[in-house]
Symmetry: C2
DNA sequence: CAGCTTATACTCACTGAGTGACTATTCCGT
DNA sequence: ACGGAATAGTCACTCAGTGAGTATAAGCTG
């Protein structure tokens, strides 16, 4: 059995879905997508240009987007990408699936999801935020129990676990605040 | 001019230095190092066995460690690694250089440093912690200013920046607590 | 108006992170 | 006696991420 990609690499996030989302809003070529990523989600993702192209190439290879070369007079020709139906499906699935409860995943993956959901419907974003908060909260409980069970001798392991717990706690606060902020339109 | 490795990849942390540190304490072979990494720093790093071997291979290629194959009767032969002088130098340098001020770097890179420093001399660990706290604090100020300067229209960029600030703040609290905890020996 | 930088648009070759599957042998428990 | 853990390591792979390079036209500067 082939283990699906998502579970194989819960970390290792890249702006893959953000690019799918941008392409869905409007088909565009790589250079343009890279710019949008920077302007609109620049505090979230920091992909280099070649990284953006890399991801687009992979997405095309995997059949989630399809690019068509457009020749231009007086300019380098370019490839305009659009979603395939597989890509659309993948995007929709991502939009309704909470991120893994790590600080990093929330900051990049969840934030991207929130961005796209909000554009469609602020209410959907609100729902996503509270579902995400639940996932984080339950993971937090789990971590707390695990820490309690850690060998007290393993001091640095405990400290490490303690940091995680703290970070998740402040993450949770933030998630709830985001819910509020979206709720009452600023 | 070649840009040095460290600044090229401030993120992308791997248990590279943790392995150097373990080898310094006691020369060992890969399997053993992997186990120690798990037992002693398992809450911090989660490297697979092959990942550990990968890193060891690279470290050897780069001249930081040197491995000698030991044949064993009735067991697969193994390679015992020890630090080279370049490796020792690299390790010492790492030990006195604060981590980049991101949550992830603190959790893995800084924690590892603290672990090794503490074994040598709790006082050194204390110093490292307060130096690290300074670095984080100053980065935090920078972020706050950058957030204030962000276009308020870019709501999601602001939210993203806000989250970073929160995470860094709780990080800083934790760092100071760690200082205390080390200070009064429990 | 010659010459410089900047913007457009993409390609390539690379190092490094991280995983899973595989090879072999020995020891241990049932 | 026999299956499974433990010991010890290799291999081939995908994905993350960077820097340098290619080519052309628009814009501006002295």
């Amino acid at each position: 059995m082939t283990i699906p990609y998502e579970s194989r690499r819960a970390s290792g996030l890249s702006p893959e879905f953000a690019l799918l989302g941008l392409v869905e809003i409007e088909p565009a070529h790589g250079y343009e997508l890279h710019q949008k990523l920077h302007q609109q989600l620049g505090e979230i993702w920091r992909a280099s240009r070649s990284q953006t192209y890399n991801i687009l190439a992979r997405l095309e290879e995997q059949g989630y987007i399809r690019g068509r070369t457009e020749a231009q007079a007086n300019r380098p020709s370019r490839r305009r990408f659009e979603l395939t139906s597989a890509g659309r499906q993948r995007l929709e699935e991502w939009l309704i699936t909470p991120s893994t409860p790590s600080a990093h995943a929330i900051r990049v993956d969840f934030m991207s999801r929130l961005y796209f959901l909000y554009q469609r419907d602020p209410q959907a974003a609100l729902t996503a935020a509270s579902r995400q908060a639940e996932v984080v909260a339950s993971h937090l409980e789990e971590l707390k129990q695990r820490q309690a069970a850690l060998d007290p001798q393993m001091r640095f392991n405990r400290l490490g676990a303690g940091l995680r717990i703290r970070q998740l706690t402040s993450l949770l606060d933030w998630l709830r605040e985001v819910g509020h902020e979206i709720g009452n339109g600023t």
